[in-house]
């Protein structure tokens, strides 16, 4: 079987490359951490990979809007390669700063397969501050998103100061009606947060935490699934583990919902034979 090669962007203040590379590796891909300038210079070719990850971090310090300068740089230097990558049926994931970059490039939401238009924005949290907190997410089962197949609910941490998804109401309505909204903030039962803090940590319209393009192959989200690759990452793990132990069970060998998301991507590429 062909190997699945995942490219994880690095450099210019990006910082989740290590754990993103790790999770792709344990999901069955070969992880390649590639400096943005290696793509710009042509030393590394995007076409040699099947999955592209725009990871978290503070690209260019997020000084002029989160993910803005990164988006410009990618668009200017490898814009065409990105579009061919999408055309070839490959997968792109953008997490946190990477989601912001995908939005600013225009790869998301990708209405009518136009992957260059900015019509969504991710702005400052309503709470006015950076916030690190675990959130409950509920998944839209009708969404075409490749990454979330078989996932009903997920807990991941958010860690951002700018995570509020906004757009004009027509755009939000279309995202909802075309099932491009993948993850929404919810309570622990899966009921939508309806904007209430802290279940919705940033005030995102329609509780949106993650969206995909119409094909489901480009996916962006504010929470960090790559931060939940080990059972001890979850804030409740020690309580769960203790209670399970009393039933003679253990958490240790379960695949986390973080890993599952990446494994979905790797399995898709394997099945597609790309």
């Amino acid at each position: 079987m062909k190997k699945v090669n995942a490219l994880i962007l690095t450099g210019f203040g990006l910082n989740c490359d290590e754990e993103t590379a790790h999770v792709f590796k344990i999901s069955g891909a070969i992880s390649h951490k590639v400096h943005i300038n290696e793509l710009v210079s042509g030393k590394v070719k995007l076409q040699d990979f099947q999955i592209l990850a725009f990871g978290g971090g503070f690209s260019w310090g997020d000084d002029h809007g989160a993910g803005v300068i990164q988006a410009l740089k990618m668009k200017n230097h490898i814009g065409k390669d990105l579009l061919s990558f999408v055309d070839e049926g490959k997968l792109i994931i953008g997490i946190c700063n990477g989601f912001q970059a995908l939005i600013n490039i225009g790869l998301l939401p990708g209405f009518d397969k136009d992957y260059t238009k900015r019509n969504v924005s991710i702005t400052y949290n309503d709470c006015g501050n950076f916030r690190n907190q675990w959130v409950h997410l509920t998944t839209n089962s009708k969404s075409p998103c490749i990454f979330t197949k078989g996932i009903d609910m997920a807990d991941y941490p958010v860690r951002h100061g700018e995570g509020k998804v906004i757009a004009n109401q027509a755009v939000i309505d279309r995202l909802l009606s075309e099932n491009q909204v993948v993850f929404q903030y919810a309570d622990d039962k899966g009921t939508l947060a309806k904007g209430a803090f802290p279940n919705n940590p940033n005030g995102s319209m329609a509780d949106i935490a993650g969206i995909c393009d119409p094909t489901g192959r480009i996916f962006g989200l504010m929470p960090h699934p790559e931060a939940y690759t080990h059972f001890t990452n979850h804030p409740d793990w020690s309580r769960k583990a203790e209670l399970l132990k009393r039933e003679g069970k253990s958490l240790e060998n379960e695949m986390t919902i973080g890993v599952r998301l990446f494994k979905n991507a790797v399995d898709y590429i394997k099945a597609a034979g790309l």
């Binding site: 910082n15 002029h64 900015r118 950076f130 690190n132 907190q133 860690r159 203790e242």
Partner: protein, 1002 residues
């Protein structure tokens, strides 16, 4: 041509920055603002034409979905407008990234005299706003005169076309760099120059310096380079190297320690050697996990068969005290360079903070440089930006309030890194420079910022303290450098590296050249932020985000190629030699030429008189307070006190999970809102091993005796580690001393001798604790002048000194993180045990502080007895007998039972009469049992089935079952010695009290 782009959020969108201003204006100053909108201004000083500017505006700086912008002032209505920009020369991070963006997007190359500067203006609407209010907001909330400038516009005074008329904050020095020859005809002459130039030379060093430069051999040798008398570059070099910050003169000084009661006198020749170095070296021999201590930028311990961890801790007090944000961000970004520059370089994997500030609600007459509230806001934000943007999780931290810190606040920052134990088959912790190696400076450029930072932090704060040493750290530039250097390390391109921190190149090159025994440096090669710096300024500037690296000539090409790829500036600025000389040139002309061993030439040790007076002799007694009758209200009051209550709002601003290794987070419990004992991180994601980290601060005990402050602080740090599953056989320590001035002066520092004795006692305690618990000190630092002279109501200045403070950090390696513990009780029916005895030890406790009392019975540590309990506890945790574990710390049992109850979200029923007790220090009452801060104690819960094994393990040890966890109610119910109810509080009551103090902060 200068152009200004103004950018604002669309009118209908919420302006978070404006809302935050409205909130603070109201709560801090009682100023009502109806509406506040923030406009970002990008001032471009370049030859870009109108078309290019339009493109930059639209394509780079404006988000089409959320923002509006213009090359003309935006027409946003206001009653008052405040413009705030940086002063020239202050690091403008967004300005620098704007240049990168324009360079990339428009293909524009910026000339040295072009630049981009960012600023903001705030449009305020408020019917009642008057100029005085607006000035207050501008000067006390939005700007700090040290780094900012502001202008205020009234509605009437605003010109809609000119707008704020922002000029580039460009530095123009307009001078030809030079060096000066300094006359050293007499000691007095040199002392005078030292004062004039702010060299802070010690009086006793002056004759040694003169003797060196006046000796014939030196004069002969200098003649060959056309030098005779010392240059300013040379004296600055000596000043930096001999400063207390770099040389630790206090800890290497001679103390005449006298016990006032017995009259006995002991001479302490070096606190460092006796109490830190010797015990640590002995322990290093005993503990094979200790890899490298006492010489490098940070200490190194073994993590697993292939990795070592690196740790160090720093303070950044003086700068933070004047410019809180700048000081704190520079502090955390700065301490992160230490592990980066340890051995051949490590990857950062966690950091922590410790803030000690005055009362945030202070409204007395004293005028600190920054009000504690503003200072705390600033340091929180500084560590947030510095830590988060570095991509390093801030996994632990404490915030502490005491009036003594109004004189000078403390900002502790700690950094941990991880490195492979081998690089290209060689040990990664070893490094040296060799003759022929190139000296490379990588990272940021050099400017006037940070000059004389080291000498300023070695002095008490006064109105004459130069403000020029306050900087703003740049985590973005440093993160690029961090990633770049790790790749260079792995390719074997680095032979030595160290950071440029205090003392700049003077320290980094001065110290690294000692290995090869010489260097030649061409200062004219050093990249500058702007022209016009004198040689000595380039040499000692502390401009941040720079590393000094030794690279072999054959590796230069590859090194530079990687540097270019990462867009990190690297420059060859000289060469290491074996000439025995530190040789500095500027365009070929020698401006410094001294022997490498100059600093070993018999500079005298500092001397201190220390007089210890026992607390009894100082008149300390136990206060007379009868037993309270309303324990419910008392406990709720205790929970709401600033040093006990929730500081969740601070911790959540810090990314504590980036890098994916989080196991025990800074907050635990069903609502993840109770402070954890310690944090645990997996720095190697493929491994199940974890690194546990804890810190303790108990400065209050210094009021009675700094000896017990030290032992209790270390004991608490150790118990915190053990509580999460730490290994008692592997505990590494880091000591961070912050002390008021100890040099006696009958007028300026009349209690200096006592404070010196406190320091000696703390060091003795440090050694005892480290030896008994077998803790090698992997790293440590001291900051010795924690005093301020604050202006009072009548124009007088009052000296305010901080409590003698030590932050102790502890590390341990956990074999399998699956065994880690948290403090939350997990199941109804579980038993609650207390380990360790409670004694009448309320001295300097939180309880006594309510009544403004100190008392006498400070908690004491009985190392031998405690150790046995700790080892048994470790076995219990490793064998998974426990469901939860928590170290009893500040506030005592009552507070820590409350923490556990809230963390578990379950009821608890407890009986104080069942506690293990120690009556040797006096009788025990309900309040002593609830609030005594006796060391050596834990609360644990366990399932009933584990009781027999647990009790067998603790047979003969102080461990008693005091009650159980229940889901029948959600109350904390405690009965007293007479079995009658003393506390019965619902979860809701506890949480309300715990949250309310800072409840509206997010």
């Amino acid at each position: 041509m200068t152009a200004c782009i103004e950018i604002a959020l669309k009118k209908e969108l919420r302006d978070a920055e404006g809302l935050s201003l409205i909130k603070k204006a109201g709560s801090y100053f009682g100023v009502t603002i109806q509406e506040a909108r923030c406009i970002h201004i990008v001032t471009i000083d370049s030859d870009l034409d109108e078309k290019a500017l339009e493109r930059a505006k639209d394509e780079i700086f404006t988000n089409p979905v959320t923002q509006v912008s213009g090359l003309k002032p935006l027409d946003i209505d206001f009653d008052w407008c405040i413009w705030v920009g940086f002063r020239p020369g202050v690091k403008d991070n967004p300005g620098a990234t704007a240049m990168e963006a324009i360079q990339d997007h428009l293909g524009k190359t910026f000339d040295p005299d072009e630049g981009i500067y960012t600023s903001k203006r705030y449009c305020l609407k408020g019917e009642t706003l008057v100029r005085e209010d607006v000035e207050k907001l501008a000067s006390e909330l939005l700007s700090n005169s040290i780094i900012h400038q502001f202008r205020i516009f009234s509605k009437e005074g605003w010109d809609k076309t000119r707008g704020a008329d922002v000029k580039p904050a460009k530095v123009i020095l307009d001078r030809t760099p030079c060096f000066q020859i300094i006359g050293i005809d007499s000691d007095e002459a040199l002392a005078k120059i030292s004062d004039e130039r702010n060299l802070a030379l010690n009086k006793k060093d002056i004759p040694v310096i003169r003797e060196y430069f006046l000796s014939n051999a030196v004069l002969e040798s200098r003649k060959t380079k056309n030098l005779s008398k010392p240059t300013d570059v040379e004296l600055e070099y000596i000043s930096q190297a001999r400063s207390d910050h770099c040389n630790h003169n206090t800890f290497r000084g001679i103390f005449r320690y006298k016990d006032a009661t017995t009259g006995e006198e002991v001479i302490e020749n070096s606190l460092f050697k006796t109490y830190i170095q010797e015990p640590t070296l002995r322990l290093k021999d005993k503990k094979d996990w200790v890899v490298s201590v006492l010489w490098d930028n940070a200490g190194i311990g073994r993590f697993d068969d292939h990795h070592n961890y690196v740790i160090t801790g720093e303070t950044h007090n003086s700068p933070s005290n004047m410019e809180a944000y700048g000081g704190a961000i520079t502090g955390i970004v700065g301490v992160y360079r230490d592990p980066m520059g340890t051995g051949l370089g490590s990857k950062l994997f966690m950091g922590s903070f410790g803030f000690c500030v005055g009362d945030v609600n202070y409204n007395g007459p004293l005028k600190p440089p920054l009000h504690p509230r503003r200072l705390l806001d600033g340091v929180i934000e500084g560590v947030k930006d510095g830590g988060n943007k570095s991509g390093v999780p801030t996994t632990f931290g404490q915030t502490l309030f005491n009036p003594g810190y109004m004189g000078k606040s403390l900002v502790f920052v700690t950094a941990l890194g991880i490195m492979p134990d081998q690089v290209k088959g060689k040990p990664s912790h070893e490094k040296r420079t060799n003759a022929g190696d190139l000296i490379i400076m990588s990272g940021g450029r050099v400017g006037k910022d940070g000059i004389h930072g080291v000498t300023a932090s070695s002095e008490s704060y006064s109105e004459n303290t130069p403000a020029g040493h306050v900087q703003i750290g740049d985590p973005y530039t440093q993160k690029k450098m961090h990633d770049f250097l790790l790749i260079c390390r792995d390719e074997g391109l680095i032979h030595y590296l160290t950071d440029n921190g205090g003392g700049g190149l003077s320290s980094s090159i001065g110290e690294s050249a000692r290995f090869s025994n010489g260097c030649v440096v061409d200062l004219d090669k050093v990249p500058l932020k702007y022209e016009g710096l004198d040689m000595w300024e380039i040499w000692v500037s502390e401009s941040q985000e720079r590393m000094t690296i030794a690279v072999k000539p054959e590796h230069l090409e590859r090194f530079m190629a990687l540097s270019a790829q990462h867009e990190v500036e690297s420059t060859v600025i000289g060469e290491y030699t074996d000439s025995g000389k530190l040789h500095i040139q500027y365009k070929g002309e020698t401006c410094a030429y001294v022997d490498m061993d100059l600093l070993d030439k018999g500079f005298p040790a500092w001397e201190f008189d220390a007089v210890w007076i026992f607390p009894e002799a100082r008149g300390f007694t136990e206060p007379v307070i009868s037993s309270p009758s309303d324990f419910n209200s008392l406990l709720l009051h205790m929970l709401s006190r600033p040093n006990i209550c929730s500081k969740e709002w601070i911790i959540r601003q810090y990314d504590h999970e980036v890098q994916g290794g989080s196991v025990i987070k800074p907050l635990s419990g069903v609502k993840t809102n109770i402070p954890s004992d310690a944090c645990v991180t997996r720095p190697v994601l493929s491994s199940k091993k974890g690194l546990a980290f804890s810190q303790s601060l108990l400065p209050w005990y210094s009021k009675i005796d700094a000896y017990h402050m030290m032992t209790c602080t270390i004991d608490e740090a150790v118990r915190r580690l053990l509580s999460v599953g730490g290994d008692f056989n592997h505990i590494g320590g880091v000591d961070n001393f912050c002390w008021p001035n100890i040099q006696f002066d009958s007028k300026k520092n009349p209690d200096g001798k006592f404070k010196a004795a406190q320091l000696v006692r703390a060091c003795r305690a440090l050694k005892e604790a480290c030896e008994k618990y077998e803790i090698p000190l992997l790293s440590g630092k001291d900051s010795m002048y924690v005093d301020g002279h604050l202006e009072g109501a009548f124009g007088e200045r009052i000296k305010v000194s901080a409590l003698e403070t030590v932050q102790f950090s502890a590390t341990s390696v956990i074999k399998d993180v699956a065994a880690c513990m948290t403090l939350d009780p997990k199941a109804s029916g579980d038993f609650v045990y207390v380990l360790g005895k409670t004694a009448n030890e309320l001295g300097a406790s939180e309880y006594y502080e309510i009544f403004d009392k100190i008392g006498l019975n400070v908690p004491q540590v009985d190392f031998e007895k405690f150790k046995v309990v700790y080892k048994a506890l470790q076995i219990a945790i490793e064998n998974r007998l426990l469901a939860s574990c928590h170290a009893i710390a500040r506030g005592g049992l009552g507070i820590h039972l409350s923490y556990m109850a809230m963390a578990g979200g379950l009821g608890m029923e407890l009986d104080l009469s069942a506690l293990p007790m120690d009556t040797t220090r006096g009788g025990l009452h309900n309040e002593t049992l609830l609030f005594s801060e006796s060391a050596g104690r834990f609360i644990v819960t366990l399932p009933p089935g584990n009781k027999p094994l647990f009790e067998k393990l603790f047979k003969g040890l102080p461990a008693s079952c005091i009650g159980n966890v229940t889901d029948q109610h959600d109350h904390l119910k405690i009965t007293g010695l007479d079995k009658k109810a003393v506390v019965d509080l619902s979860m809701n009551q506890l949480e309300t009290a715990f949250q309310k103090t800072f409840g509206d902060m997010i």
